[in-house]
Structure formats: structure tokens, C-alpha cells
């Protein structure tokens, strides 16, 4: 099923006045695609999920399932959640505490009024798919976080929904379980080929799970694209710093031009720009620009005459596979992965910056 949002907004009215949660959002999710809504808390991603589920009504704009309008205030159309055949996994799993696992999974089928044996077969099939067939008689309160999460997923998938909605399903799990479940969830979604809308604030989840990602902030979509697009071509400083294992270095710099060669000044150091980056910078039209480089792309070496930026090491962090070095370049600090040779605080370090991984943004 194809899901599409066209200029959808949602404003909550409460005693303290109107709070716009979603402002004119446009996106669409292809059939079987896993589309991630990524953004900090309060950016409206959960509201969009609720709008898709029909738990909230849009204040303006249209929501379509396979081209057919399911929610539009102007068009006076609203299909209630129960009739949209969507399935949802809530952050707190929302299992029915008064029912055991079997009854929890069977609940949507019983409400739909399916035949007894049919329900039992589907429940057992879905339970075994998630490896929880031996928990059917226990109560939610007796299960671990991971088990409860699997029951929630089973309850969602048992009735083969045309749209699968997940609201930060992994956030309550501990780190180890999270990575394992992430992989399994991906495999499950691929095998069922169900259109999925996945909400998270964790950029690692977004990068590993999403076919495509929409980055949100203050109710608006900043950028949509494949994980690679967002990583390599962030269109805004916010996108740049939000995506990636480490926060991107963003330094205020000045653009200087001498004889057709553009270069940028960082603190006391100067860095010549290659032609394509230079033209991009020139387009920005202002002298002050933001220079961005991901720590994992830069390398910090002990001082040597080779080209690169010079800085005094202020901190060395050993993170297992990599060591992260923070150096002060006359006022602005920059983080990079340590290259060969050891560096300790106070040393002078040479930071090599591969020219093709430079990003430039207007200040």
C-alpha cells in the first residue's frame, strides 16, 4: 500500500492556546518501503504517526492510502482507526494487562469477528514467527521488556495490516537487545513486505533500518532521502550534526579568494578549497561561512611538515576501535580520529582533512 501526506498540518488547542505540532508536511511511502521519521523529541514525528493511524485528525491537508483519501478536514473525510486496517506498536507496547499473551495477540482478530479456529491458527503462526510461542499463557506483567515488545509486534502483524506503524519500539530495550532486535525487525519487515512508518529519535536506528528517512524539526520536514544521501549530502547544519556516529565539526570560518584560489581560514590556519567546493562556497555569496567536517573523516597525526591544520591537543578519548582526538585551532576546536603515532594532551597535532568530505553551509 502507498501512503501519502499532502501539505498536512495539525494544531492542538488547549487551555494555554493553540500549539502547532505539524506544519505543512509532504511525503509519501512506497508499497513495502520502510520509511523512517527521524527527529529530536517534540518535532511532531509521533503526531504524524498518529495522523496516519487515525488517532488524530489533521487540521488541514490530506492523507491518502493508495490514492484514496482517509483523512481530510476540508474534504470532510475521516476514516476511523479501526477501519483503516493499520497496525501499531507503541513505545510502551500498550499490552492489555488483563489478558494473557494469546488473548493479547488474538484481540484484533476477535474484534474483527474472525472464526475461532482461524484466530488460533494465525496467533500460533505469528507467535512462532517471533519466537514467543511458549509464552502464550503468561501475563504481560510476567514478561521481560524484550518479550513484551515481541508480543506487541505479534499483535500488530497477526492481522496482516496494509500499513505498519512503530513508535520508537526499541527505546525501552537495553543496548545489546536493541541491536539484535533491530536486525530482526528489518528481516521481518523485508519478508512481509508491509509498508512501514517508523518513528525514532536515534539516528543509528534510522540509518540501519530506513529505506528512506525524513528528518523533522519543529513540525517541518527538513530533508528526505536515503540514509546515504542524508549522511553525505546534509542540506542544513542541523541535518549534518544530527546524522552520523559523531556530531560533525561545524566551525565559523571566513572565505578568502586569491588569484582564483578559494581558501578558508580556521583560527590561525588556512585551508585551500578544491574548485567544485569553491564554486559552491562562492554561491553562498557571503564572506562568513560554516565549514563542516565529520570527525571520522579527519585524521590527527603528530606534528610534521605535511599539509594540514595545526592545533594543540586538548582531549584524547579511547572509544574501543577508534580514538578521538580534540584539538584547539586558535579559538575553534576540532575533533578527529587519531592516525598513526600517539598523541597526548598538549602535543601539537596535524589534522589532515580529505578535501572531498568537506561540507560548506551559509552562516
Amino acid at each position: 500500500m502507498k501512503l501519502s501526506f499532502r501539505d498536512v498540518s495539525k494544531t492542538f488547542r488547549s487551555l494555554r492556546g493553540a500549539v502547532p505540532a505539524v506544519r505543512g508536511v509532504d511525503f509519501s511511502v512506497e508499497d513495502g518501503e520502510l520509511f523512517v521519521l527521524l527527529g529530536p523529541s517534540g518535532c511532531g514525528k509521533s503526531t504524524i504517526l498518529n495522523l496516519a493511524a487515525g488517532l488524530e485528525r489533521p487540521t488541514s491537508g490530506e492523507i491518502r492510502f493508495d490514492g484514496e483519501i482517509v483523512a481530510s478536514l476540508e474534504g470532510r473525510v475521516f476514516v476511523p482507526p479501526g477501519e483503516r486496517n493499520v497496525a501499531m506498536v507503541f513505545q510502551g507496547y500498550a499490552l492489555y494487562p488483563h489478558l494473557n499473551v494469546r488473548e493479547n495477540i488474538a484481540f484484533p482478530l476477535r474484534v474483527a469477528g474472525e472464526a475461532r479456529e482461524e484466530i488460533d491458527r494465525s496467533v500460533v503462526r505469528t507467535a512462532s514467527m517471533l519466537g514467543i510461542e511458549d509464552l502464550l499463557r503468561s501475563r504481560p506483567s510476567e514478561l521481560s521488556g524484550g518479550q513484551r515488545q515481541r508480543v506487541a509486534i505479534a499483535r500488530a502483524l497477526v492481522r496482516k495490516p496494509r500499513l505498519f506503524l512503530l513508535d520508537e519500539p526499541l527505546s525501552n530495550l537495553d543496548a545489546a537487545l536493541r541491536t539484535a532486535t533491530r536486525a530482526e525487525l528489518r528481516r521481518l519487515q523485508r519478508s512481509l513486505e508491509v509498508t512501514t512508518l517508523y518513528v525514532t529519535h536515534d539516528q543509528t536506528e534510522a540509518m540501519t533500518l530506513g529505506d528512506r528517512i525524513a528528518l523533522l524539526r519543529d513540525g517541518r520536514i527538513l530533508q528526505t532521502g536515503t540514509p546515504r544521501d542524508l549522511y553525505e549530502k546534509p542540506q542544513t547544519p542541523f541535518a549534518a550534526s544530527f546524522i552520523g556516529p559523531y556530531t560533525m565539526n561545524l566551525l565559523k570560518t571566513d572565505l578568502e579568494e586569491e588569484g582564483g584560489v578559494c581558501s578558508i581560514r580556521i583560527g590561525t590556519e588556512r585551508l585551500p578549497l578544491p574548485p567544485d567546493r569553491a564554486s559552491g562556497a562562492r554561491l553562498l555569496g557571503s564572506r562568513k561561512i560554516l565549514f563542516g567536517i565529520r570527525p571520522e573523516h579527519a585524521r590527527a597525526h603528530p606534528d610534521s611538515p605535511d599539509p594540514g591544520l595545526r592545533g594543540i591537543v586538548t582531549a584524547v578519548e579511547h572509544l574501543g576501535r577508534e580514538t578521538l582526538v580534540t584539538a584547539d585551532l586558535g579559538g575553534a576546536s576540532l575533533r578527529a580520529i587519531a592516525g598513526e603515532g600517539t598523541l597526548k594532551e598538549g602535543d601539537v597535532a596535524r589534522i589532515a582533512i580529505p578535501v572531498d568530505s568537506i561540507h560548506v553551509f551559509p552562516d
Partner: protein, 294 residues
């Protein structure tokens, strides 16, 4: 479900509340309004109903019987409510302390609250009986007085018996309120105080009391309004007591109704209603209950 603007949803929302509002309107609001209107009429069984405006209220003002019951009711509130709060607090402290018998203790403390006031009224009437009541037995056994005390015979004795009966029944209820307040105080505050080597008294004064203030205010107002409208205990234990000296406002109104003077009784109950209503508005605002709902 979040904000539902469509008319049908509002209708469904209000249809959920409609039965409650309907019943409250029919059996609480309408009667109160009706009583207020009746209080403006001379309505006696042996005379035609006639509008006399504030006639009933003027008679009330000059009626020593009404003044006596007003005085009694206020004195009763001033005597029983503080006593209930102090006793209730000490019970709560006893109940809050972890001990093997805590469950049983809590159950037995609840019993007085669960017993109907009419029944406890009769029991206290027996306790205060002049010839063979328990009170006289204990009082003489301890040697406080030489002969039997005529409890229900004197205004003071009857007043004391009523306060005792009311405190016996509601101190446990107040204890439950304080218990809730106590269990809401985070444990680590006490652990922190213990680290600062604060003794039990300081812990009580600096942590328990201040944090119980909101519960204290709620219990105080809740009990004051309840004690103002006392009827069951007074009707059964002293039936208005010697010389009508322990007739509560509610009983005074009731006697007027059954005596066949609805207008006068309505006027008495309107006065009581106004006192209780102003206090309850204070109760609702001070209680600040709406906080976590909106």
C-alpha cells in the same frame, strides 16, 4: 484520542456525561433550588401556602432555638475537627510504620468509619447510660469522679459525648488521608536526614509536617464541611440533647419539616447550605485538584 472538533464526537463525549449531569440536576440541583424558593414561603400543613419573602429569615434571626443550634454546630465543628486531625495524624504515623500487624491494624482502624453513624450513636448512648453505661464504669473505676456522671443530662456531658462519638467515627478516616500523604513522601528524604544525623523529632518537624501540609488543609476543610452538616449522630445519641442545647442545624431543619413547617425548615437549611457552599468553594480551589487533569 486527541482534540475532537467534529460535532459528532463532541456529541458522543457529552452523551457519556449526560446521565451523570441529568441525575445530579434532578436529585441535587433542583431540590436545592426548590428549597431556596420554599424558604420564601410560609408553607405549613394547616394554612394555605403564602409568599412572605424574607419572613422566615426574620423569624430565624429572632429565634433563640435557631441561634442555639447555630452556636452548637459551630462549637461542635471547632471541638471535633481539630481533635480528629491530631488523632488522625498520630494514627497515620502508627499505621505508616512497617510492622507485621500493619494490615490488621489498618483494617481495625477502618471499622469505625464503616459503621453507620446511627449505630455508633446508639452504642455511645449506651456507653453514656447513667445506670450501667461503660463511661460511668470506667470513670468510677479510675476514680476520676466518686458517683456516676449524668452524661446525657448536662449540656457539657452531651456535647462531650457527641464529640467523642464523631471523633471515634472520623479520626480513622482522617488517618487514612494522612496515610496517603505519608506514603507519598519519598523515602530517600528520610535517609538523607538520617545521614545528617537528624533525630526522629527533627525528621518529623522538618520533613513530615511540611510535606503533609496540603493533606492537612484538604482534611481540615473536608471535615469542617462534613461536621457542619452533622445529623445522624445528633439525632440518635442526644436527639438535640438536654434543653435543645445540642440540636445541630440539620436536626433543627428536620424537626421543622416533620413538624409540618416546610418554609421555616427550608430557611434553616438554606443558611446551612450557604455556609457549606462557601467553604466547599474554598475547598475546591485550595485543593487545586484540576492540576494533573488538564
Amino acid at each position: 484520542m486527541g482534540e475532537d472538533r467534529s460535532f459528532r464526537d463532541l456529541l458522543r463525549g457529552y452523551s457519556f456525561i449526560a446521565p451523570l449531569v441529568a441525575i445530579l440536576l434532578a436529585f441535587v440541583f433542583v431540590p436545592v433550588v426548590g428549597t431556596c424558593i420554599d424558604s420564601l414561603y410560609r408553607e405549613v400543613t394547616f394554612l394555605p401556602r403564602a409568599f412572605i419573602g424574607l419572613g422566615n429569615y426574620q423569624s430565624l434571626a429572632s429565634d433563640p432555638g435557631f441561634r442555639q443550634s447555630l452556636r452548637f454546630t459551630v462549637l461542635f465543628v471547632l471541638a471535633s475537627v481539630p481533635l480528629e486531625l491530631v488523632l488522625g495524624l498520630s494514627f497515620a504515623l502508627l499505621l505508616h510504620r512497617p510492622s507485621p500487624a500493619r494490615g490488621a491494624l489498618r483494617a481495625c482502624v477502618l471499622i469505625p468509619w464503616a459503621v453507620p453513624a446511627a449505630v455508633s450513636g446508639k452504642v455511645f448512648e449506651l456507653i453514656c447510660n447513667f445506670q450501667y453505661g461503660l463511661a460511668n464504669y470506667l470513670v468510677q473505676r479510675i476514680g476520676l469522679t466518686d458517683g456516676p456522671v449524668n452524661w446525657l443530662g448536662s449540656t457539657g456531658g452531651a456535647f462531650f459525648a457527641l464529640v467523642a462519638g464523631d471523633v471515634w467515627k472520623t479520626a480513622p478516616f482522617v488517618a487514612i488521608l494522612f496515610l496517603a500523604g505519608l506514603s507519598a513522601i519519598p523515602e530517600d528524604l528520610y535517609r538523607q536526614a538520617a545521614v545528617d544525623r537528624a533525630g526522629p523529632v527533627q525528621r518529623f518537624a522538618r520533613i513530615t509536617l511540611p510535606l503533609l501540609r496540603p493533606v492537612f488543609v484538604v482534611a481540615l476543610l473536608f471535615r469542617t464541611i462534613d461536621a457542619l452538616r452533622v445529623f445522624d449522630l445528633v439525632f440518635v445519641l442526644t436527639r438535640g440533647g438536654p434543653g435543645g442545647s445540642t440540636t445541630s442545624l440539620s436536626l433543627y431543619g428536620y424537626d421543622a419539616f416533620t413538624g409540618g413547617d416546610f418554609g421555616y425548615g427550608s430557611a434553616v437549611s438554606v443558611v446551612l447550605f450557604l455556609i457549606a457552599f462557601t467553604l466547599s468553594v474554598a475547598y475546591v480551589r485550595i485543593g487545586r485538584f484540576g492540576r494533573e487533569l488538564s
